[in-house]
């Protein structure tokens, strides 16, 4: 059609008229117009004409563009003036910039501005928070511009189950964050960047190992039965947050209540995390590169005593106090270094004269032929001060009306924390996404990704963790090597030598292949749409463990092996998961006139997964190459795996009346192969209502400041079928023994068939949610608040306790209930002001949330027993579940102080704890509160009704989680700060928590925290004959005695059981991320031939405020919860792989 026809049509369709001087445009040209919005339509109509336009009120004003030649003639610089209003009110603080330059200013309180250095024909960009940004051509006259209000937040598209919605129409509890929170944070995986960003999404990062993901749940503990965590969907298909390239992420949406997650039915009981990857940008291909390099340093660097004399003094005192001087000192330190008074004196002598060797040949009764006199800092020997990681990303995106594509690749590489052994981590991501419009009504999309993840982990020569061995072996007296160059026992047995020689290690390699093909059919355009997709995901993992002996020596010429060559082994496990899913669903949105909006979704989902693994192990190497073919020892193969399938039909109906009364009903009918036929199916419905009060006519008075006020309520239920497959059949397995030989070979064996549960069906979680969303002052202030109650019923747990004669643990059944109460609040303020003539745009966003779960029914514990004392201790004072228990609660004793003297002991309740070998309580030891006043410190029957002096002294669940985002941009400079924290959480140091307890745990522990230094007066001082504690009222640490946290866990070693004095407050506030960036303006970029250029520096975990650091400065409040089983398997001892501070320097270039 001609330009003229197009203009007329546009006027009749939109009401906008064209205003122009005849002759400025050719109206008889032929143009093709196919546009979604006004602006696009105008541009298409005017394409090819040398004009500019401005949309003002209902007019489209067209002016002839300045001839290009004049631009090159260095036009005269003038001053532009203008007045910016909106709805008759002045807009102060709006920024006015000459497009593509740094030349700009900000409007004053009356909305007026003047800007110099401008030429006629320059385009001015006027923008302000809360208004749509507008471009205007300056033609020499004063500008009067009316800005349109912007509802960016309300109009934001939010990804919900199988669809997207405008935020204004949401009735469920849904939160979404965009790529800006992931941006340039150089994290190995997405979970680390999401922590603290979404209210209600709890992400627990236990350590800094790059391959580690952290665990996450939505709104707290969901089930104490089958358990389970949030469902993660990547572009609609179940996936793992650790496998996605963070730079590919467009948005992450969290569906928190039953209403929003109902279409995921049985999979979404504990919330759904929807990750949407970036989609193609149509038009000229855009190439983006970003790269960064980071230095990583421990968040806490443990500080230990490395002076041998000081170390030995501590050892002697702790040891002698434990045995009450009844036992002579040993002639060696845990068989790692010899000890005698002569050696002690010799160390003093050699310390004074540094020219003397730290080792010499010396024969002694303890089996050593060397004496060691070193002051060795083993910690530095094992660990790096900092290590490097780097990241490179490249993406290309482009396309036209009929086809588009997005291709990206990423490399992430990191060294590890160990200085010895070349720990290494590498990750590669590749994504290729493309869509093709086969017919105007038919779109075909394919989304493929590959993730490869390679780990090399140096280890000790056997299966125990390195950190544990370090604790036991690395006394400062011992050097690395003996005189003849052989390893010392400390190097050999601790695993240092294995790591150094790279003779024992683990490789752990993953490959994730995912492909999703999707078909979208517009049966009736914008009314009825049908989509179907099919996904195939393959996850392969190969883990190899190689353990070989190391030779070390205690005496010249005599060499020992850490393990026998027959015990050296190669163990290889292949894991293989094949997952397929099909979704088919239709969206129906009939046009029902201006007052009614209706949207219906009906869909079908089917998933099946096949998982298998096989482990091969063989002993005894014949060569250095770790290959099964080059081994001659015993071998074994085990295999396992399972298969499961789900099938569900779901629906959702959204109805809105005049945009103010919103209704949503949804539900799902689900079947699972994990349940027996008679209890296989479950129906999980939900409904929600929303009321946009701000849209009511009687709220007209508030229009000037209130943009949106919405009240929502929802109720619904969902299922949880996270039980192991085949639980309902009685089965027997066959295994090969490794601990006994029968008739000369390793026998295969089996035992009694598994018991069958009483009942096995869906756990149901029912959520009631009430929420409020609000936006004030042109969306400068916005926020939302939710309160919810969630009841998890039919939890699959052990049934009622059966007498032991049953001979097996009581069969499980659906017989426990949990209630969770919680709330979430998020508030955001965004604005801008004038700073030095340039706008300073800033925002502050805060989120705060909390939840607490209480057990409301538990069949497996009729007499409210806390379980065994050893379990209680190993679980940091957390008892077995009983009705009324708050999840995470910790029981323990109350400490009154330290005993001053014998009289004090005599006047206090008696205690029979092991705090010295003879069980005698002495001055300087911990005094407990006899709560039940029976004259004895005890735990009685260890039940709720009879628990003696125990009481609730803490809770390990994180409470009052919060995140604070601060960001500002000025003149191309951006600064953002993200603070994250937990308001309340308790941690009790476990029996082997050497970084906390030092010598109080074990006499040979190499680690003595410097905070224990007696000069600080934090340790109990005794008088000469050990009968009185001199600083009983000021000291924190008790009488220096070893084995007081460790030992016989059945009989209660004195500090083994949690108590109030040593309970640590693990609340923290952490500066998770600070980022400073500088973006070059377009002119500079164009001059370099780039579309964009940005440099950034950022720091993760820069500093931390936590009350825990008063007495536990060697531990990280996030990292003390245990995590990496290749590093330390016990969760309570704080020996996790460390958390890191990461300093990053990076660049982002767009071509």
């Amino acid at each position: 059609m001609t330009v003229k026809t197009a203009m007329d049509r546009l006027r009749s369709a939109s009401g906008y008229s064209f205003v122009y001087e005849v002759g400025d445009i050719q109206t008889d040209r032929t143009v093709t117009v196919d546009a979604k919005n006004l602006d696009e339509a105008v541009r298409q109509i005017l394409s090819g004409q040398n004009v500019t336009y401005q949309i003002k009120d209902n007019n489209i004003i067209i002016r002839k563009a300045s001839p290009r030649s004049s631009a090159q003639q260095a036009p005269a610089k003038e001053i532009a003036r203008g007045h910016i209003v909106s709805g008759g009110q002045p807009v102060p603080g709006a920024s006015v910039f000459v497009k593509g330059t740094m030349n700009g200013t900000v409007t004053d309180l009356e909305g007026k501005f003047s800007l110099s250095g401008i030429s006629r024909g320059d385009i001015l960009t006027v923008s302000c928070i809360g208004y749509e940004s507008t471009d205007i051509v300056w033609n020499g006259q004063d500008i009067a511009l009316n800005l349109r209000e912007d509802n960016e937040i309300l109009d934001e598209t939010v990804v919900v189950g199988y669809a997207t919605m405008k935020r204004r129409d949401l009735v469920g509890a849904v939160d979404q964050v965009g790529s800006e929170v992931i941006g340039n944070r150089s994290n190995s995986n997405l979970a680390r960047s999401l922590q603290g960003e979404v209210a209600g999404l709890n992400i627990t990062i236990k350590d800094g190992k790059p391959s580690h993901n952290g665990s996450f749940n939505v709104r707290g503990t969901g089930s104490i039965g089958a358990g389970g965590s949030s469902l993660v969907l990547i572009d609609g298909v179940e996936g793992d947050l650790s496998m996605i390239n963070p730079q590919d992420v467009e948005s992450v949406s969290v569906l928190k209540d039953a209403s929003s997650a109902a279409v995921y039915g049985a999979r979404g009981a504990f919330g759904v995390i929807l990750v949407t990857t970036k989609s193609a940008k149509k038009g000229t291909p855009v190439i983006n590169y970003s790269g960064s390099v980071s230095a990583n340093r421990r968040t806490v660097v443990p500080d230990a005593i490395t002076d041998s004399i000081e170390w030995l003094d501590w050892w002697k005192t702790a040891y002698n106090n434990y045995y009450n001087y009844s036992r002579a000192l040993l002639s060696h330190i845990d068989n790692k270094s010899p000890y005698s008074q002569a050696i002690y004196d010799e160390i003093i002598r050699r310390n004074e004269d540094p020219t003397l060797a730290k080792i010499e040949e010396s024969y002694d009764v303890s089996g050593f032929g060397y004496a060691y006199y070193d002051n060795h800092d083993w910690f530095k020997e094992f660990y790096r001060d900092y290590h490097w990681s780097n990241e490179h990303n490249l993406s290309v995106s482009g396309g036209n009306e009929n086809a588009d594509y997005y291709v990206s690749g990423r490399y992430y590489g990191s060294q590890g924390v160990f200085k010895v052994g070349d720990e290494d981590y590498k990750k590669y991501n590749l994504r290729a996404k493309g869509s093709l419009k086969v017919r105007p009504w038919l779109t075909l999309t394919n989304n493929m990704s590959i993730t490869i993840d390679n780990n090399y982990i140096p280890t000790a020569y056997n299966t125990n963790s390195v950190s544990r061995y370090m604790q036991h072996c690395l006394q400062p007296m011992a050097p690395l090597r003996n005189l003849d160059g052989s390893w010392t026992p400390a190097s050999g047995i601790s695993g240092y030598a294995s790591m150094y020689e790279k003779s024992s290690y683990i490789t752990d390699d993953y490959i994730y292949l995912r492909d999703k093909i999707e078909l979208s059919i517009d049966i009736i355009k914008d009314v009825l749409n049908f989509k179907a997709d099919y996904s195939y995901n393959y996850t392969g993992r190969n883990r190899r463990e190689i353990k070989t002996p190391v030779i070390y020596s205690k005496s010249p010429g005599i060499y020992l092996e850490t393990i026998t060559p027959a015990q050296a082994f190669l163990k290889e496990t292949d894991y293989d998961t094949r997952y397929q899913a099909v979704n088919a669903y239709a969206n129906f949105s009939p046009k029902l006139g201006p007052n009614h909006t209706l949207n219906m979704l009906l869909g079908y989902n089917v998933e099946w997964s096949k998982y298998k693994y096989s482990t091969m192990q063989r002993y005894s190497f014949t060569s250095d190459k770790p290959s099964f073919s080059l081994m001659d020892g015993e071998s074994s193969i085990t295999a396992g795996g399972n298969e499961w399938s789900y099938l569900g039909v779901f629906y959702r109906l959204n109805y809105a009346y005049k945009g103010k009364y919103l209704l949503e009903v949804s539900g799902r009918y689900d079947g699972s192969s994990k349940f027996p036929t008679n209890s296989r199916w479950g129906f999980f419905p939900s409904a929600s209502l929303g009321w946009r009060i701000s849209e009511e006519p009687w709220m007209d008075w508030s229009r000037s400041f209130l943009n949106n006020l919405k009240f929502r309520v929802s109720a619904g239920s969902m299922g949880n079928g996270n039980v192991s497959p085949y639980s309902y059949t009685s089965e027997m397995s066959v295994a090969k023994a490794t601990d006994i030989a029968i008739a000369g070979t390793l026998p295969s064996y089996t035992s009694v068939a598994s018991t069958v549960p009483y009942s096995l069906t869906w756990e149901t979680s029912t959520t009631y949610d009430a929420g409020l969303d609000f936006d004030f002052f042109n969306s400068r202030l916005s926020g939302s608040f939710d309160y919810y109650v969630r009841m998890t019923t039919d939890m699959y747990t052990t049934g009622a306790t059966l007498p032991a004669v049953f001979g097996a643990s009581a069969p499980k059944g659906n017989n426990a209930e949990l209630r969770t109460n919680g709330w979430e609040l998020s508030l955001q303020w965004r604005d801008q002001f004038d700073l030095g003539g340039k706008p300073f745009v800033y925002s502050v966003k805060g989120t705060l949330w909390d939840s607490q779960s209480v057990v409301t029914k538990f069949a497996g514990n009729d007499n409210n027993s806390f379980g065994t004392i050893s379990n209680l201790i190993l679980n940091m004072g957390q008892p077995d579940y009983y009705v009324g228990m708050k999840v995470g609660e910790m029981w323990g004793y109350t400490v009154l102080g330290l005993f001053k003297d014998q009289a004090d002991i005599d006047n206090s309740a008696s205690q029979s704890f092991k705090q010295a070998v003879d069980l005698v309580t002495r001055p300087g030891q911990v005094k407990f509160d006899d709560i039940d006043e029976n004259g004895e410190i005890d735990y009685k029957n260890l039940t709720l009704d009879d628990h003696g002096d125990l009481k609730i002294i803490g809770n390990s669940s994180p409470r009052y989680n919060f995140g604070i985002n601060l960001s500002g941009q000025w003149n191309g400079i951006g600064l953002s700060v993200f603070l994250q924290g937990v308001g309340k959480r308790d941690w009790y140091p476990g029996y082997d928590a050497g970084y906390f307890w030092g010598k109080y745990s074990r006499p040979f522990f190499y680690f003595i925290p410097t905070i224990h230094r007696q000069s600080l007066d934090t340790v109990a001082h005794m008088n000469e004959d050990n009968t009185e504690c001199l600083n009983y009222d000021t000291a924190y640490w008790p009488r220096l005695t070893t084995y007081v946290t460790n030992g016989d866990r059945n009989r209660n070693t004195v500090l083994n059981m949690p108590n109030t004095r040593y309970m640590q407050n693990a609340a923290y506030l952490r500066v998770k991320n600070i980022q400073l960036d500088y973006s070059f303006n377009q002119k500079v970029c164009s001059a370099m031939g780039l579309a964009g250029l940005k440099f950034f520096v950022n720091a993760e975990n820069l500093f931390t405020i936590t009350p825990m650091h008063k007495w536990a400065p060697n531990l990280d409040p996030e990292g003390c919860w245990g995590g990496d089983t290749d590093f330390e398997s016990d969760a309570i001892n704080g020996n996790s792989y460390p958390m890191f501070k990461t300093y990053t320097l990076g660049v982002n270039i767009t071509f």
Partner: protein, 607 residues
């Protein structure tokens, strides 16, 4: 892709297929009803039963550690008055479930009748073993010969069956096993499988226990009131002793087993049985049932090295009681205590000279050497009494805690059969010289001791057994049993069935120390190696035993010398003073949690 997608969707929409689609079978496990198919299934299952009867050396040694023959470091709670019902947590019935499940289903397997009978015998053998342990620990318990269902109130809340009934059931099971289990050599491979002779040997052990228990104990402690035995119950003592004799005779007459005895190796052959890497191959003639560990297969006896437990001061806590060591005879067959009437003053050298060769194969002696040819004197740091064990101590000198031990463990030896036979006979006053010559004599001879049929009670032994036994033959049989089987986890059972619990809590004694603060040369190499001292300063090159003398109060555990500054060592007097024996301790309490759950499960006497 599109081509496949639509048909795939069509299939999925077909709801009739749903239930098939949602039915999955475990690829790696057998549904229980299909398990028992043939002889291999029986072998597979019984392998599991054999495996569950796990024993490592440490279990053996620890069993004897808390008896009269040895002492230990640290407190043993059971002997204190603080031990109560909440302290017992070892009331497990898991193995019985597995055994009864096997017995209920094993005949589904297809095999010939004799094979089925053999394997039923194996199952019943393990049920007997299970109940023997329960009866000896708890007295009477409920009897189940079938799997207890989670819904069966009747079974779950059943009352206890009487000791007499249980013993009869155990005997029935054992008799079935003795009769039906094959004695064929293929079931005797490396002494690791269950066969007729293993069943007979366990039967002998059990019957001797029950026969003497009924004889020496006056009442049934499973009864809350501790009622006296009925006359029938008492009379069964003889029945069991006779059953013991029968079982022993069957083994002895079979000719399958004999004692390991090479006259040229008498100074070492006894110990060799407990340190040999391949005892299951080398001692099949004496070992009736054993546990096979193997370095080649990397099957470890201990996850920690047994040497570490015996030589590393940090962990070592095994020490012999001097009173017990006095019972080792002189090589001429006479008591050591006769030779030295002032025996409490004898020196270490005197004690280790001319003795039963088993003594110097059980403890370190002057001149004891290890593989490196060096002298290894006993050390007070390792062993408070000075009598440091070497039975079980490996020859290799890798004493690190992480080193592994691969030594095979004999669970029941032919020597025990001879001893049980002699004891049962002696209890019935029928241990004639002829019986003696078949039993005690060969045992003494292979240890270099002249065998003399006893006619006069040894005063020391009479006193040792608290003047309750005077029969000279019986006393000698008991002596022999103690010496031969020490550190083999039988001593506590023996003491208990003899009703001698007081012996367990006696103060344990050590070497005679002529003078405190004086260097000792225990290996007689001319250099001092040990010292007993009340002073804390370190003594270069000496192993120190710190004692409490003259109010020095340095020994928190209360080691003292009998005469203050000299005399024999008395160890752990402080802890020992808290130990008391009482009648109720012959049985353990039933855990309170279970008594609460099932009120018909009455508590044992005194608890």
């Amino acid at each position: 892709m599109k081509k496949y997608l639509l048909p795939l969707l069509a299939v999925c929409f077909c709801l009739t297929a749903c239930d098939d689609f949602l039915s999955k079978e475990n690829p790696n496990k057998i549904e229980s009803e299909f398990f028992f198919k043939n002889e291999s299934s029986l072998e597979l299952y019984t392998n599991g039963l054999i495996r569950s009867y796990a024993t490592v050396i440490l279990t053996f040694i620890n069993g004897d550690r808390y008896s009269d023959s040895m002492s230990w470091d640290g407190e043993y709670l059971f002997y204190t008055d603080r031990y109560d019902v909440s302290d017992n947590t070892s009331w497990s019935w898991t193995n019985l479930r597995s055994i009864n499940y096997y017995l209920a289903n094993m005949r589904n397997a297809e095999a010939d009748e004799a094979t089925l009978d053999h394997y039923e015998g194996v199952g019943r053998f393990f049920r007997a073993l299970f109940y023997i342990d329960k009866v000896q620990t708890y007295g009477s318990v409920p009897w189940y010969d079938h799997v207890v269902e989670s819904t069966s109130e009747e079974d779950l809340y059943k009352a206890r069956d009487s000791r007499a009934f249980l013993c009869q059931k155990i005997l029935e099971d054992l008799n079935y096993a003795c009769e039906h289990c094959s004695g064929d050599s293929k079931y005797r491979t490396r002494s690791t499988l269950i066969n007729k002779y293993v069943a007979l040997a366990i039967k002998a052990r059990f019957c001797l226990y029950e026969g003497t228990y009924r004889k020496y104990h006056t009442s049934d402690l499973s009864d809350p009131q501790g009622r006296a035995w009925t006359s029938e119950e008492k009379a069964e003592s003889t029945t069991y002793l006779n059953e013991c004799i029968k079982a022993c005779e069957e083994i002895m007459n079979s000719g399958v087993y004999s004692l390991v005895d090479d006259p040229s190796k008498r100074a070492t052959q006894y110990r060799q049985m407990f340190i040999d890497g391949d005892g299951c191959a080398n001692f099949t003639n004496e070992w009736i049932w054993a546990r096979d560990y193997d370095e080649g297969l990397n099957v470890k006896n201990q996850s920690y090295s047994i040497n570490d437990y015996m030589t590393n001061a940090q962990h070592a806590q095994y020490q012999f009681n001097r009173d017990f060591l006095f019972t080792y005879l002189m090589q001429d067959g006479t008591p050591f205590t006769d030779k030295y009437p002032d025996y409490y003053k004898t020196t270490f050298a005197e004690e280790t000279t001319g003795r039963d060769l088993r003594l110097t194969q059980t403890i370190r002696y002057p001149g004891f050497k290890r593989a490196d040819g060096k002298n290894y004197p006993p050390s007070f740091v390792y062993t408070k009494t000075g009598y440091q064990p070497i039975k079980w101590l490996q020859d290799v000198i890798n004493d690190e805690i992480n080193a592994s031990t691969f030594t095979d463990v004999p669970l029941i030896r032919y020597a025990e059969i001879l001893l049980s036979y002699a004891e049962a006979k002696a209890e019935l006053n029928a241990c004639t010289p002829e019986i003696w010559d078949k039993t005690i004599k060969p045992l003494r001879e292979r240890s270099g001791v002249t065998s003399i049929y006893p006619t006069k009670a040894d005063d020391y032994l009479v006193k040792y057994f608290l003047n309750t036994v005077t029969d000279p033959v019986l006393l000698e049989v008991r002596r022999e049993r103690g010496v031969e089987l020490t550190m083999e986890n039988l001593r506590q059972h023996d003491i208990r069935r003899w009703h001698m619990g007081e012996l367990l809590v006696k103060v344990k004694t050590g070497m005679y120390i002529p003078s405190i603060e004086t260097d000792l040369d225990l290996d007689l190499d001319g250099t001092p190696d040990n010292i007993v001292s009340a002073d804390l300063t370190e003594k270069a090159g000496l192993s120190v035993l710190t004692i409490n003398y003259n109010g020095s109060n340095k020994s928190g555990t209360g080691h003292i010398l009998s005469e203050g500054d000299h005399g024999y060592i008395m160890v752990h007097t402080k802890l020992q003073s808290g130990y008391h024996w009482s009648e109720k301790k012959y049985l353990s309490p039933i855990p309170s949690a279970d008594v609460t759950l099932n009120p018909d499960l009455t508590q044992n006497y005194g608890w």
